[in-house]
Amino acid sequence: MISRIWSAYAVEIAKAIRQRHVYLGPALVLFVVVCAPLQYSLGGEHSNGFGFVAYATSIVNVLGLILILSYSASLVSSELSSGAIRNVMVRPLYRHEFLAAKLLLGMSYALLITLTTGAASWAIAKGFGDVTAVSYGGEVIYTAYDMVRSYCLAVALALVPLSAGVAYAITVSCLTRSTAAAVTGSIGIWLVVDIVKHRLHISAFLFSSYLESPWQVFKDRCDGLDSAWFPMATHAMLASVGALLVFCAAAVAIFRRKDLHG
């Protein structure tokens, strides 16, 4: 089964690198990060390069999620609408294996968006700001190594709710043949739930509530504050992994019953 999923994932990657629209997301993220110094000028009192990384990451966060949701929501529906899926599903590949390959592709895209943001913001911070240490009154509070470690941990933690987001968008994608409906549906539902989550007191159980939490810890550290990863990381992991499993199960249940006629 692993080898079949791996083959399907390799096929998905080979297809993705040949599609122009795949590059649009990272290009847009790059553009936003490159333009970020217009708002957060590096130099003078804002010489803290880490602060810029935190700022750039925070402004890309929502855009990144929308890009990831859009891309993931199109993964199954586009194949359903074109009919190309029928040539794939008559091969020796189970439907849940096909979905696993799509999930891995969506997660790879989330990683690409995150890495693009990171690479661009760190490059600008290093080129125009100070990334030697976070200090207060001449005293070093966090070394550059501490900050890089914090950043990497934030990336790793942020990828878990993003993966849940990918699974959620793929579930919506399995419901419809229309790519436009899948994309608008997944973003629309997320927006509505995000608006009502505090009123309904469900915020703590939603993966989307933890998208910014890891970056908040990194941002606090940029400001020299001592912010802890726990219990936020535990809650984020539980809610996100739980959502990931639920959405994967739902996607498989929907897709296995789906008739793939013309």
Binding site: G83, A84, P92, R257, L260
Partner: protein, 299 residues
């Protein structure tokens, strides 16, 4: 000969609409079965159930003596499928499309061999988006042949092809059936294709199997249908049509097409000779699949 495909009491419903109802069918290994029926009869549904693209509401699909649902991976690896209106990734070349599909099949295959078989090798580097319908149809057959399947399931494989290309495709399928003992199940609206290729014909109407016969016996000569060549065909057709032992006598060019009703060719000959006609030939007519098809659908 072992059974290759067995459809057991297959039913498929879409909501309250019944697309297929209690279909039972067996196909032997190496056999070529043609699936005929009017639009919406259930041909495509049958083929899709056979390939696992859709799931039956009830009943069982057995392929290579195994349950399709339980042994899908093994069965799919030995089956080639051409779906109706085949779609490919337009942004990739034909060769790249086949390479990706071959990778999913988990076998080392020579993509160019399949492209060569269907005459697409010269345009293999072109993006599929620029392909005509006929080229896509040929590419669909190439992807079905990629893994040298033991069973081919083809849904209107010659639709959209010009006469030359469809003849070429039929030749290839005939070769595969005869030389490689490939079992072929295919649906088509082209009666002459089914006549030329199939060992057996199954007719489906309104989701039910209404007939299943060997092609040879269907198309056998029939002594009640004769073509008569004689000196005054117009007058003869008129006189014959008045006889109660003649069901139909129609003029076609210089030939009178006669359908006898309870009489023999001897009686017909005697009648024409007595009437003073000079007969140059009485030819038993071969039944066509089209006639059989129409007769089955409109009994």
């Amino acid at each position: 000969m072992p059974t290759c495909v067995q459809l057991k009491d297959l039913t498929k419903c879409y909501g309250s609409a019944v697309a297929l109802s209690g279909l039972c069918l067996e196909v032997q290994t190496g056999e070529v079965l043609g699936l005929l029926g009017p639009n919406g009869a259930g041909k495509t549904t049958t083929l899709y159930l056979l390939t696992g693209l859709i799931r039956p509401t009830s009943g069982q699909v057995m392929v290579f003596e195994r349950n399709l649902e339980r042994h899908f991976i093994e069965i799919a690896g030995r089956m080639g499928v051409v779906v109706e209106r085949p779609a490919f990734y337009g942004y990739l070349s034909a060769r790249d499309n086949l390479k990706l599909l071959a990778r999913l099949s988990g076998r080392e295959v020579t993509v160019d061999r399949a492209l060569d078989l269907v005459g697409l090798l010269r345009v293999a580097r072109q993006k599929v988006a620029g392909y005509s319908h006929g080229m896509r149809q040929r590419l669909a057959l190439a992807q079905a042949l990629l893994t040298e399947p033991e069973l081919l399931v083809l849904d209107e494989p010659t639709s959209g092809l010009d006469i030359e290309s469809s003849q070429e495709m039929l030749r290839l399928l005939r070769h595969l059936a005869k030389e490689a003992n490939v079992t072929i199940i295919f649906s088509s609206h082209m009666m002459h294709e089914v006549e030329a290729l199939c060992d057996r014909v199954a007719i489906i109407n309104r989701g039910r199997l209404v007939a299943c016969e060997e092609t040879e016996s269907l198309l056998s000569y029939d002594s009640t249908h004769v073509d008569v060549l004689l000196d005054a065909p117009e007058a003869a057709a008129k006189r014959l049509a008045e006889q109660d032992w003649v069901e139909e006598a129609a003029l076609e060019g210089f030939t009178v097409r006669v359908t006898l009703d309870g009489a023999t060719v001897h009686q017909l000959t005697a009648f024409l000779v007595a009437g003073g006609y000079r007969i140059s030939g009485i030819i038993p007519r071969r039944r066509t699949l089209q006639e059989y098809f129409l007769k089955v659908l409109n009994p």
